[in-house]
Symmetry: C2
Subunit: 219 residues, 2 copies
DNA sequence: CTGGACAAATGAGATGATCTCAGCAACACT
DNA sequence: AGTGTTGCTGAGATCATCTCATTTGTCCAG
């Protein structure tokens, strides 16, 4: 009669179950408010079992986010390769980022507000993926310079920061569940400003702050 | 004989002591790693006394950050008023933001990584100050449009997001104690890209490389 | 000077979280 | 059946935040 007090599963299966449960609970409550007890319950194990496979609660967060991040960018390089033209490629990069955020706001929020703050972030695979991602951006920009489409004196890191920072701020309300945005429209707007901002060609419309060139309408 | 087991201070003084201690401890360890017990000890009180004046640990964080934020932007409007010219004003806004971050990285980090994530953020005075700050930015941009210096079709919120997002990403490593930056140089670089990106005058340097539609916002 | 009201401050302990660990129970292989 | 291996348990150690009945200084009325 005694049906087993517990079921015995192969290691991988158990880990997968726990991670699946963790993903759901983190998604619903965020990292801090999620309790390991609840994750364990939903995974059908006892609390101690979670710690058998994951050193801390935080290790569980990292594992969950890393798996998801892996899936996410698997087809990315492939697609980028097909797209030609500096501005089209940039547009794809920006759109891809925006569209990821649109599809998985809660997981993105975990990365932005929890994972990225921690001291161990740089040892994380997520960090590595992000690096590769922003590295691609710099590559595209350098390519643009080589083609003579982007000014040689543009500080590329600043341009990159304006792209990704802009995307993040633009989607901020949405990620917190307080607004909406359109990935396509936002990508268009951002790349448009950026293109005009860094492309070669015509001279700058107006001189910078210094006193050198006279301003048109001083007051 | 017995000097009093504890000292009795006026309410305001005690609160000030506790907040000062909290500021130091938060600054050193961050919010999560700071314990109320340690804050209490440094303030020369017992743990329970902290809860006499602050409902939660989080209320203490908010109080500390709010006081600091208040001091910070007190002279801001005044200065901005004196500066003339759209681009100079933008440059001042951006520089001010950058320079604040440079001077108080740990407190900025508290805002970025702890306070801003919480659900009560929008009820905070910090939120209100930030709103006013970004509102000024939009004002300056609209002024630029009125003067004919900025294109009418520029989506101003996107421009604003690129500014503040760009600043935040640019200073990210520094805030985490892993790098440096120059407020003046960064402000120059950001405003330069932005100015070329949104100023009127010359037509856009080059059409997007793709086959079809130029991206222009019809709105 | 004295007694009583009041508020400041205490410290013990309730609550709830993460994390540990000795041992039990199911399975695989003799 | 016996035996080794290991998934899994459940009780509890430890350490946070937060509560509250009680103690103690201070002040003022009489």
């Amino acid at each position: 009669m005694t049906q087993p007090a517990y079921s015995r599963l192969p290691r991988e299966r158990r880990i997968a179950d726990i991670m699946a449960a963790a993903r759901v609970v983190f998604d619903e409550k965020g990292y801090a408010a999620a309790s390991v007890a609840e994750i364990a319950e939903r995974a059908g194990v006892v609390e101690g079992s979670v710690y058998r496979y994951f050193e801390h609660k935080r290790a569980l967060l990292i594992a969950v986010v890393e798996r998801w991040y892996g899936e996410l960018l698997s087809d990315f390089d492939e697609h980028l390769e097909v797209i030609t033209g500096t501005w089209n490629r940039l547009r794809y990069l920006v759109w891809k980022h925006l569209s990821t955020i649109e599809k998985q706001p809660m997981l993105v929020r975990l990365v932005f507000e929890e994972l990225r703050s921690g001291p161990e972030y740089r040892t994380t695979a997520v960090f590595e993926v992000n690096r590769r991602y922003t590295r691609r951006t710099i590559d595209v920009l350098e390519e643009g310079i080589a083609r003579g489409e982007i000014r040689r004196d543009v500080p590329l890191r600043v341009a990159r920061d304006m792209i990704f920072g802009g995307v993040e701020h633009h989607t901020w309300a949405f990620v917190r569940g307080e607004g909406t945005f359109s990935p396509v429209a936002a990508a268009d707007a951002i790349v448009d400003i950026l293109r005009r901002g860094i492309a070669t060609g015509i001279a700058a419309p107006e001189a910078p702050h210094g006193s050198k060139s006279p301003r048109r309408k001083p007051r």
